[in-house]
């Protein structure tokens, strides 16, 4: 197994995440897709660490930080979804156009 | 944590406590301020007792690496030049805090800034590292800006911004000077004591340039002609207690800087500048006195008299003798005490009458005997009546300068006469003559005001009759300083 394999796995996972984020109507679905992208990044980090700097652990540690940030993100995201749902009775992204200037 | 750090940072600790207190609890805020500043003053008493008068070395030294990559240290220490000023700072801050108890608006912020100011001022006198010195120097600036700008008189914003810009401009030049000496010493260092020893490696031209940079920084603070115009304005607009601290301590930072850094570090630059310095001293003395004479506002008059008195300090320094240094150092202490008292007293009458116009009063001595007595005492001390604090120091300044500059000193003696003239005229117009019935509702001093003023008045008399306690603190150091350069 080479680094390329892992990178391609990461790329595939990332692109699936992107696809999901772009297409899912459900906000929770979008959140889940974003989690997929995080994991893709983590795979890349772990792989770089393993193949390029086997003596160090910096990549893994960074991955840990990402996991933490992801956890924070998902918590806040879900709280927001709950709040939105409570107000608008909807979980579909296209129902919200607050960003329209 | 040795005694100097405690003296310096106790007020800052008090400021943090005040920050934590809710702003409705005014009594607690005032108590916290008084206690922290009072503790600092008590420690200064200990400092006075423990200080070894027999050596010119730095004492109570505390040295901790601070920013190792720059070589900046947390380096405190005092010698005979700075220890009286540290004590003066604590004393005058405490007195000013007592006088500030009548502040009615935004008490929390006021005391917070005041205590930060005290920390900055003590730090300037105790710091022996250029970076630390500069930091403390700048720390004094910000609280002063707010204290004048928020609690000041009608033109407070203008006065505050003028004060700020003036001093900031000065300190920018000072920063340039600090960096210049840093990069021109091998090894690079901010250590003041090392820098004081390293003038041998600097050329004359370099010393002159650096001297000018430092001088600009200090001259604004002194304030030396022609950089003095911020002072009357700031004094007039500042609240009473801030005027007290401004005159009593902040001006001394400039003179201290000139004695410690300009003189000690850059002898060639100093000797090059000496003729100009003596001219500035003479101008300060006579011109300041004349300007004071033209005033109708008591506070502005006292402010200009500060310019006059700082001229005495510069004169003493320019004499380059131990006598002149003793005079200048002692004059700093005395001017702090006397002018502090004067500002407090002017503040008292302003609180009651809401005017400071000299010609608005008349015959107040009959109605306010205690006030009139204390005011006369302060005025006579300021005009140099023997037996009161101002005389000895003034005399030593003249004595120190006379050996080198006979004609200049003889000319500047006129300043004494003019000083006497405007103070006596003020006393006559305000306190003597027929009583102006308009002021029949005025009351004499209350307990708070007495608490603030009487200690200063007592010190004025004690130091005037028996100046040994103050002079003995500085003698060894100043003699050492005077012997540095031939």
């Amino acid at each position: 197994m080479t680094l390329t394999h892992h990178l391609l796995l990461g790329a595939a996972l990332f692109l699936i995440g992107v696809f999901g984020a772009l297409t899912r109507r459900n906000i929770i679905g979008i959140l889940m897709s974003i989690e997929l992208m995080f994991n893709a990044a983590n795979i890349n980090l772990a792989a770089f660490n393993h193949f390029l700097h086997p003596e160090g652990v910096l990549g893994m540690t960074t991955a840990l930080f990402i996991i933490t940030v992801a956890a924070a993100e998902v918590v806040v995201g879900l709280a927001l979804v709950l709040a939105i749902y409570r107000n608008c009775e909807s979980v579909y992204a296209e129902d919200f156009n607050l960003l329209k200037g | 944590m040795n005694i100097l750090s405690l003296i310096t940072f106790l007020p800052a600790a008090g400021a943090l406590v005040i920050l934590a207190l809710p702003k409705e609890r005014e009594r607690a805020i005032q108590a916290a301020a008084l206690i922290s500043s009072g503790l600092s003053l008590i420690l200064c008493g200990a400092l006075y007792v423990l200080f070894n008068r027999g050596t010119s070395d730095m004492q109570f030294v505390e040295r901790i690496p601070w920013i190792p990559s720059l070589g900046a240290q947390y380096f405190l220490g005092v010698d005979g030049l700075s220890v009286p000023l540290v004590i003066l700072t604590a004393l005058m801050s405490f007195v000013s805090l007592i006088a500030s108890l009548n502040i009615k608006v935004r008490i929390k912020e006021y005391f917070f800034w005041f205590l930060i100011l005290e920390t900055g001022m003590s730090g300037v006198f105790a710091a022996l590292d250029m970076v630390l010195f500069y930091v403390f120097w700048e720390i004094t600036l910000v609280p002063m800006y707010f204290l004048i700008g928020i609690w000041g008189g009608p033109k407070k914003e203008y006065a505050a911004i003028k004060f700020f810009l003036y001093t900031l401009t000065g300190s920018v030049f000072m920063l340039l000077g600090i960096l210049a000496v840093y990069f021109n010493t091998t090894p690079h260092t901010f250590d003041l004591l090392t820098l004081l020893q390293s003038h041998a490696q600097w050329s004359s031209r370099f010393q002159i340039l650096v001297f000018i940079a430092f001088y600009l920084g200090f001259a604004v603070k002194v304030p030396a002609f022609p950089f003095h115009t911020w002072l009357p304005l700031a004094h007039v607009e500042a609240p009473t207690a801030v005027s007290v601290v401004l005159a009593a301590v902040l001006l001394k930072m400039g003179v201290y800087g000139i004695m410690r850094i300009s003189y000690g570090m850059l002898p060639l630059g100093f000797s090059w500048f000496l003729p100009i310095l003596i001219a500035i001293a003479v101008i300060n003395i006579i011109y300041g006195a004349l300007c004071a004479m033209a005033q109708t506002d008591m506070k502005k008059m006292v402010a200009y008299s500060s310019i006059n008195h700082m001229g005495y300090c510069l004169l003493g320094i320019a004499g380059l003798t131990a006598t002149g240094f003793a005079g200048a150092s002692f004059e700093m202490i005395n001017h702090g005490i006397i002018t502090g008292a004067l500002f407090l007293l002017v503040g008292v009458i302003y609180d009651r009458a809401h005017t400071r116009d000299i010609s608005a009063f008349g015959g107040l001595a009959a109605k306010l005997p205690v006030y009139a007595g204390l005011m006369s005492l302060a005025c006579f001390a300021s005009l140099g009546l023997p037996g009161l604090a101002g005389f000895i120091s003034e005399f030593l300044c003249f004595l120190g300068a006379f050996a080198r500059w006979k004609v200049c000193t003889a000319v500047s003696v006129i300043g004494i006469l003019v000083t006497a003239a405007f103070f006596l005229r003020m006393l006559e117009k305000v306190f003597l003559g027929p009583f102006n019935e308009k002021w029949s509702a005025l009351t004499d001093l209350d307990a708070r005001e007495l608490c603030a003023i009487v200690p200063l008045a007592a010190l004025t008399i004690v130091l005037g009759v028996y100046p040994r306690p103050a002079l003995d603190l500085m003698n060894t150091t100043l003699v050492h300083m005077a012997g540095l350069f031939k």
Binding site: V18, A21, L22, A93, E94, F96, N97, L98, L99, G101 | Y166, P226, T229, W230, Y287, L290, C291, M293, A294, Q295, T321, A322, T323, F325, A326, G327, F330, G363, A366, L385, P386, G387, F391, F398, L399, F402, T409, V413, I416, L417, V418, A420, A421, F422, L424, R425, E428, F431, L432, G433, P434, R468, L471, D472, N475, T476, V479, H480, A482, G483
Partner: protein, 655 residues
């Protein structure tokens, strides 16, 4: 000997009394505190007499004792060290007599004031001030250190300030107090510089050390002259010599006992005393000596002429004081230390007497104007008698004290320079004239103001007893002190190097004859009820009278100087606020603002147009695009980002 050893107490005890009176107890007409002051000064009197006795009975003089006061750094010969400033007492012959004079007059004046100031709202404070004055005056007398002398010198000036302005509710005393302080301060500047010079040269303020320095010839004549002239400046200010005497007549606004004590007997004599104390410097500087002599003579003459036209009883006495001080100065300048100090001593007695008599009169009639008096001799016989004695004494009637001292001075001055003698002789004649004029106008003739005359009465005993004591002294002091050459044996001055004009024996008697003639003239002019002759003379010499009345316009010159100072002050402030502040400070601000404006203009016209143009374009384009692509949907925006990402990824194809 113990009296001498504790001589320092002589200054400290009144000082302590002064503070005790000032801070102890409330203002109260029945307060016992004034007696503290009297007791203190009484003790000092006893001590002074003890010292005098010790001196007469042969104690070693001068007696000196020093303590350490404070120390400061000093640089001498490029070598810095810590100098210890001593403070101490130095009792020599002049000091002994000065001590007795000061304590005696103070004591009597304090007793006199018990009655004179009775009922005043600030009775207690008055005594505190008096004690403070006495303390500083005694300090001046005994101090061995010229710096301490100068301190006390200033403090007596300060006491004079607060005592002249004692009735500060009226504006005249307040103004007079300020004028007195500032005028003497003007003279003090010279003294200040002299002190600086002395210390720079000698390195000490101790009088014995300076004397040694001079006597060994280390001090050049030029330096000695400068120093002596500086000291003379101070002395001229305090002792009211020309042209600085203008403050003394105004100082009469103070309470009369104060005038007697400060402005007649003691403080104004301090200048003479100081010159005597530093006599060794003067004798080393011939030019300074001549200046002293001529200044004294000039002052004596000018003041005497002014006294002739004055109608205020106290001002006549004030001018008389100035004139007599001129006598003393002149004597000192003519190498007559003994004569000058002798006159100082006797003058203190009869001038204090005269002032206290004037006070008694004023107390009775409540006016200073002699034109409203007259015929008081019947109402106040004792006052009249004592005034008469004082007048005779000052005029130099033989065998009274003034005769001895004035004779001595005239003789000494003649020996030095006959021209000075002529001036002084004329002055002595004038003295007798105006003093008897005063006597006639006040006590003899008709009562010109019936109302005031009716209310007049003899003063109570606390006022008359001092009068009697001083009158006795005025009669006998001269004879006593001249007895066996007592005064000369204690106060010996240096002898003039040469005596060009030996005094003829008829000298004294000729002056006495002139004095007698002037008394007759005064009787002729002012003895009658209407003074027609005097009025005619006045009309005939109107310009001269006007000149004398305006005090030779010296007051106007003084006011002109003050005005000049004010103008200078206003000019300085104008420069400060309109030039330095406006140009250097606010000017920079204006320049900076102008620069800011210019750059803002540039911004507006050039850069901003471009920016605005770009902005406007993007707004237009954006507006068009927005309706197309921006519908506010999050995923749509995400899509654009993803397109960007894919474009970036596609770039790798071309690598």
């Amino acid at each position: 000997m113990t009296m001498l050893e504790h001589a320092y107490l002589i200054a400290l005890i009144p000082l302590a009394a002064s503070f005790l009176i000032l801070f102890g107890g409330k203002e109260d007409p029945h307060s016992p505190l004034p007696f503290v002051g009297i007791a203190a000064i009484g003790w000092c009197l006893v001590e002074s007499l003890g010292i005098l006795y010790a001196a007469i009975s042969g104690a070693a003089l001068p007696y000196a004792q020093d303590w350490s006061w404070f120390s400061f750094g000093m640089t001498a010969a490029n070598r810095p060290f810590v100098y210890d400033m001593p403070i101490g007492v130095l009792i020599d012959g002049p000091a002994v007599f000065m001590l007795v004079v000061v304590t005696l007059v103070s004591f009597l004046v304090q007793i006199y004031s018990l009655s004179y100031m009775h009922g005043d709202a600030r009775f207690k404070r008055y005594y505190a001030y008096l004690s403070f004055f006495t303390a500083s005056m005694l300090g001046l007398v005994v101090s061995s250190n010229l710096l301490v002398t100068f301190c006390c010198w200033e403090l007596v000036g300060f006491s004079s300030y607060i005592l002249i302005g004692f009735w500060f509710e009226r504006s005249e005393p307040a103004y007079a107090a300020k004028k007195a302080f500032l005028t003497t301060k003007l003279g003090d500047l010279g003294l200040y510089l002299a002190l600086l010079f002395i210390f720079v040269l000698v390195g000490s303020f101790q009088i014995p050390q300076i004397a040694q320095f001079v006597s060994r010839g280390y001090m050049s004549t030029a330096a000695a002259t400068l120093i002596a002239l500086g000291i003379l400046c101070g002395a001229a200010g305090k002792s009211a010599q020309a042209p600085l005497f203008i403050w003394l007549p105004d100082a009469m606004e103070g309470p009369t006992p104060v005038s007697a004590l400060i402005h007649a007997a003691t403080m104004v004599a301090a200048g003479v005393y100081l010159v005597a104390r530093c006599y060794f410097i003067f004798t080393a500087a011939p030019i300074a000596m001549e200046t002293v002599a001529w200044l004294g003579a000039l002052t004596a003459f000018l003041a005497a002429t002014m006294a002739i036209v004055c109608t205020d009883i106290k001002r006549v006495l004030a001018f008389s004081t100035v004139s007599q001080l001129g006598f003393m100065m002149c004597a000192l300048g003519a190498w007559g230390l003994t004569a000058g100090l002798f006159h100082l001593t006797t003058h203190a007695a009869f001038k204090a007497l005269l002032f206290l008599c004037a006070g008694s009169v004023i107390h009775a009639v409540h006016t200073n104007d002699m034109r409203q008096m007259g015929g008081l001799s019947k109402k106040m016989p004792l006052t009249f008698l004592t005034t008469f004695i004082g007048t005779c004494a000052i005029s130099g009637i033989p065998l009274l004290s003034g005769w001895y001292s004035k004779d001595m001075i005239l003789e000494r001055v003649y020996e030095h320079d006959p021209r000075l003698f002529i001036i002084l002789a004329i002055t002595a004649t004038l003295t007798a004239f105006y003093m008897f004029r005063l006597l006639f106008l006040t006590f003899l003739g008709t009562e010109r103001d019936k109302d005031k005359h009716a209310h007049a009465h003899e003063s109570p005993w606390p006022m008359t007893v001092p009068l009697v004591v001083l009158a006795l002294l005025s009669i006998f002091a001269g004879a006593l002190l001249d007895h066996h050459h007592l005064f000369e044996s204690l106060v010996t001055g240096p002898v003039s190097p040469e005596i060009p004009h030996p005094a003829p024996p008829w000298l004294g008697w000729s002056v006495t004859a002139a004095v007698a003639a002037s008394i007759v003239a005064a009787a002729k002019l002012y003895g009658g009820p209407h003074f027609e002759t005097a009025q005619r003379l006045k009309a005939a010499w109107a310009p001269l009278f006007h000149l004398l009345d305006r005090r030779y316009y010296l007051d106007d010159i003084f006011l002109g100087l003050v005005d000049l100072g004010d103008r200078a002050a206003r000019l300085a402030f104008w420069i400060d606020s309109e030039v330095i502040d406006a140009i250097f400070v606010d000017g920079w601000g204006a320049v900076a603002r102008l620069a800011a404006k210019l750059s803002h203009l540039f911004d507006d016209l050039c850069i901003d147009r471009t920016v605005d143009g770009t902005g406007g374009l993007s707004v237009t384009v954006g507006g068009a695009l927005r309706s197309l692509v921006a519908r506010g949907l999050a995923q749509e925006y995400l899509m654009y980002a993803a397109v960007g990402m894919s474009v970036l990824a596609a770039l790798t194809w071309f690598r």
